[in-house]
Amino acid sequence: MSTHGELAAYLALVLAGFLPSEVWRWLGVAFARGLDEDSEIVVWVRAVATAILAGVIAKLTIFAPGVLATVPTPVRLAAVAIGFLAFMLIRRSVFAGVLAGEGALIIGALVFGG
């Protein structure tokens, strides 16, 4: 990349990457003044934050980015389901769930084409 292109890339990083993310953190600091951690509003915003994250998780699985899109959608969904089952069956272990989900994705992609 040229020096000019490189500079533009950093400018884009700050304007389209850093600021649109950081502004929510700053607003969070502003809104959090005088809030109690057990207050009803905090319970509600935690529910909204969890639901937004859940939306990102589901969207990354269904509308997959990059090379992940070459793995068939049913394989991706089945891999998430298998990961979830492993998590529930093996002492609610994050590690077991991730390992099972990844294993299922790789095997599924190899068997059903990727």
């Binding site: 990083l13 304007l15 990457g17 915003v45 994250l53 939306g55 990102v56 998430v80 994705l105």
Partner: protein
Amino acid sequence: MSAPAPPSTLSAFLAGFVATWTSVFSYVLFGTYTGIGAIAHDFGFSVTWALFSTLLVWAGPAQVILISTLGAGASLIEVAVAVGLSSVRLLPMVVALLPMLKRPGTRTWQLLLPAHFTAVSMWVEALRLLPQQPRENRIAFCNGLGCGYGLTACTATVTGFYLAASLPPLMSAALLFLTPVAFLMSTLRNSRLLVDRLALAFGLVLGPLFAWWQLGLDLMWSGIVAGTTAYLVHRLREALR
């Protein structure tokens, strides 16, 4: 960090830093950021740029969106809106985290660094570990967590960047898949209350549905509708008790 820190603050910072070594999230984060380093390479960004995106943006999904849309030549405004929407979730996370850190007399600037470090992995671990820490140590502990995860993520970004050339497509796909799977598992583990579990379940269904309907700001609306429904069910259940 320029002034010499009292021993208790320093030890709290180190306790947070060390806590990341034994956390499952460090491995998850390493995998996620290896994937991000790899896609940054594939879209033609430099390794320094990728490293700065990890330090400055510090949110996995936002970085995936930033790199893939910028790299595909989308307009700056379009990219900023997409990144901004994916990062809306940081606002309620910060709002939920900061009351655990604050004491009477805590200054706003002291909260800016923990707020910057707020991302899924740090948030989930902070919510789990902070109650065991004395309140006066919590800000330092959070900064330690953030620095520990940050170091892991930066190492992984560079590793992924240089692996990308040699990584077969299936392994790249598996690396990208780490993000949704790991985030799902970690959120599941952290959801002990009914309200959180319902919010997770409703969000998983409504997120893609709203996106499919192509409503503007779909992520924000699905989050608000799913989260509020979960909260109302929780209130109803409390009232019926």
